[in-house]
């Protein structure tokens, strides 16, 4: 069997928090301290040297063991601060690990940010050479690929214009184009697809697919864009608090990730509000698409499941269920799902405890965070209500969309189907 192209054993990276806080220490202050309080300073120094000082240590990564085979495209996902970028920085050699060892069998290039080292005063042509060299290409390589790079970026006309006069789109296109034409054995990529317009993102994804699948290159890809991960990677690593939590088939890992996240964010009831109805309780809100996936796309159909209980004996009479979805960004209500507003007249008497399933049509929502409010209104004289708030994310699958979605319209009274189930 071939040896793995990347072998990570026992990697750990420690940061001293005290160290971190002192970002811009002025020598002046250190000296002033030493003079003002020489005894304390000496004691402190002595402690530091002996190692008694209680430093706050923070392990950004700990006990990371990985083996990656040649030709694998590996995604790395995790919450913010899980250690994804630190791992990539160690792999590229930008920052050394505190412990452990990594063996890389082949040339490495990294793409932590597009346009690293671009100089605004230099022309497009000059920047291609400079950026290429910084990324590790040789001069001959750049000359050989020059026309291809320019054509991909589509900046032929502006080659001899300083890049400070470029539009930001052109700038990013040129930068990505240089990076995309590198030919290392191992390519490390961090969140670079989050730039450019949708069309260019699509082109980039296509280019990356071409680069990876055709030439058997090994790629490590850190991203929050789960759609891109799902599309490109065959294996995915889930990092959590500096440890590998899960590694395996992309689909499984993404599901595990979403599950871990939904515990923290999506679907969790954030606040509750009630009035005049002490006895109905919303226990749980689950948001998924109609196929049961918790990764919600712009063209998904939602299936919202609300679990509830109450003190009513058998049925709750005269209830109206209203779900409203609001964009967190614009604070506009984008969907209003009313059990009274659908074509069919629904049973307004629902079981005293059970589940309500609400299905929508294609939601057509732009990428972003949405808050969802589910409310039960009692139509009897008490006019009581109970409301629960939750949240979910929508991701735009740039594959399927050729255009940017219009800003959310007020899509009220969407076609919905309400199902009322009794708890067994």
């Amino acid at each position: 069997m071939e040896r793995p192209i990347i072998e990570v054993s026992n990697i750990g990276k420690k940061y001293n928090i005290t160290h971190q806080r002192g970002r811009y220490v002025a020598l002046r202050d250190v000296l002033a301290n030493a003079f003002k309080n020489p005894f304390k300073f000496a004691k402190h120094k002595a402690k530091q040297i002996v190692g008694f000082e209680t430093k706050e240590e923070f392990w950004a990564l700990r006990n990371i063991n990985l083996e990656i085979k040649k030709g694998d495209i590996v995604g790395i996902i995790g919450h913010n601060g899980a250690g994804k970028s630190t791992l990539l920085k160690i792999l590229t050699g930008i920052t050394p690990p505190t412990e452990g060892e990594i063996i890389l069998r082949g040339s490495v290039a990294s793409l932590l940010e597009v346009g690293t080292g671009f100089h605004p005063e230099l022309t497009g042509r000059e920047n291609i050479f400079l950026n290429g060299a910084i990324l590790g290409m040789t001069k001959e390589e750049i000359i050989r690929k020059f026309d291809e790079i320019v054509a991909f970026a589509g900046v032929e006309k502006f080659l001899d214009t300083p890049v400070k006069h470029y539009s930001s789109g052109m700038y990013v296109r040129l930068a990505f184009s240089v990076a995309a034409h590198m030919e290392p054995d191992i390519l490390l990529i961090d969140e670079v697809l989050a730039v450019g317009d949708a069309e260019f993102q699509k082109k980039c994804l296509g280019k990356m697919e071409e680069v990876t699948k055709k030439e058997g290159r090994t790629i490590l890809f850190v991203s929050h864009n789960l759609v891109a991960i799902q599309r490109l990677c065959n294996t995915t690593i889930l990092l959590e608090n500096g440890n590998v939590k899960e590694i395996g088939e992309t689909k499984d890992v993404i599901n595990a990730y979403l599950k871990s996240r939904s515990g923290a964010q999506s679907g969790q009831i954030r606040s509750e509000e009630r009035h005049n109805t002490g006895n109905i309780k919303i226990i749980d809100i689950k948001i998924a698409d109609t196929e049961g996936l918790s990764l919600i796309n712009s063209d998904s159909k939602l299936r919202i499941k609300i679990k509830y209980s109450s003190d009513f004996k058998e049925i709750i009479p005269d209830v109206r269920v209203l779900i409203s979805i609001t964009s967190e960004r614009s604070q506009n209500m984008v969907l209003r799902l009313d059990s009274h507003g659908t074509s069919k007249t629904l049973g307004e008497h629902i079981a005293s405890r059970g589940e309500i399933v609400c299905e929508t049509g294609v939601i057509n929502l732009v990428e972003g965070k949405y808050s969802i409010e589910t409310a039960f209104y009692l139509q009897d004289t008490s006019r009581g209500y109970v409301k629960a708030m939750s949240q979910f994310d929508v991701i735009t699958n740039i594959d399927k969309y050729d255009y940017r979605l219009p800003p959310d319209k007020n899509v009220c009274d969407h076609i919905v189907k309400y199902l009322f189930k009794q708890d067994i």
Binding site: G93, P96, L104, S107
Partner: protein, 275 residues
């Protein structure tokens, strides 16, 4: 950079021979950084590379008027303008390199935190840029030699590269030391211009070292003293070359360089974290 060999990433140790090999591997990047700095420096200036001549030239004119003509500072029997220009040429190379090296990591932090390459490339590139400026500015010296009718000694032509090497490493060694401190303590960049100004007056640039009389040895601690004296001795024929002094400078510079490199390598592992 297609190298088939294995790369091993481990917790970093200090300087080893492998580092030099690595710099050689990245020589093309060194070229591109130098090329970038030169391009950018003169891109938006009206007279372009002439600035490299203009600065020492104006300094020479001012010094000649005030120190040469009015204060009548001795100049070892050669016309003061050419005397001071020889000194200024080397001094400018040294002082601008020193300050450029000490700031080279900070000014490239966007690259340092995003891409790996041997960090020593950056300081080397900025000195090389200043070396090009030196070459441009020496045109004036040639002009002055014509004007005053000086013929360079053969040994002068041979020894100048050696003097450049000493200056190069003096600026590199001191600069690396300062660069390492600069990453952590940002006040270095405020102290440095002041410090360089002081240093100018304890280096025999505007006066001959003979002026110090029996205290001349104090000046000799400064490696630039040996360099400037030797430059005058060979180019202008003011005195025989003081080989002992030059050897001393050489040794001093290499000690400085060693300290600078060790400091730099020690700090190198934290650069990306604290910059």
């Amino acid at each position: 950079m297609v190298n088939r060999m294995e790369t091993v990433i481990k917790p970093k140790k200090t300087f080893s021979l492998k580092d030099i090999k690595e710099i050689w591997q990245y020589k093309e990047l060194l070229y591109f950084f130098t090329w970038r700095d030169l391009k950018v420096r003169y891109k938006q200036t009206a007279i372009g590379a002439l600035w490299a001549i203009f600065q020492p030239f104006m300094a020479m004119v001012v010094f000649s008027v005030f120190f040469g003509e009015l204060a009548r500072i001795p100049s070892d029997g050669v016309p003061y303008p050419i005397f001071v220009y020889t000194g200024l040429l080397f001094w400018q190379f040294f002082s601008s390199s020193l300050s450029a090296v000490s700031g080279s990591l900070i000014s490239n932090q966007a690259i340092v935190t995003k891409v790996y390459f041997p960090r020593l490339i950056l300081p080397l590139a900025v000195i090389t840029t200043d070396l090009v400026d030196f070459c441009v500015a020496s045109v004036v010296l040639v002009g002055l030699m014509f004007y005053y009718g000086f013929l360079p000694h053969l040994i002068g032509i041979i020894i100048i590269p050696l003097l450049l090497v000493i200056t190069f490493f003096a600026a590199l060694g001191g600069g690396l030391f300062l660069a390492s401190i600069n990453v952590k303590y940002r006040d270095v960049r405020y102290i440095l211009p002041y410090f360089l100004q002081m240093l100018l007056f304890v280096t025999p640039v505007i006066y001959p070292s003979s002026i110090a009389g029996k205290y001349a040895w104090i000046l000799a601690i400064n490696p630039m003293t040996g360099v400037i004296k030797a430059a005058r001795a060979t180019i202008l024929g003011t005195e025989p070359v003081n080989w002992l002094l030059l050897t001393l400078s050489f040794v001093a510079v290499f000690i400085l360089l060693a300290i600078g490199v060790v400091m730099f390598k020690k700090m190198e592992r934290y650069f990306a974290d604290i910059i």
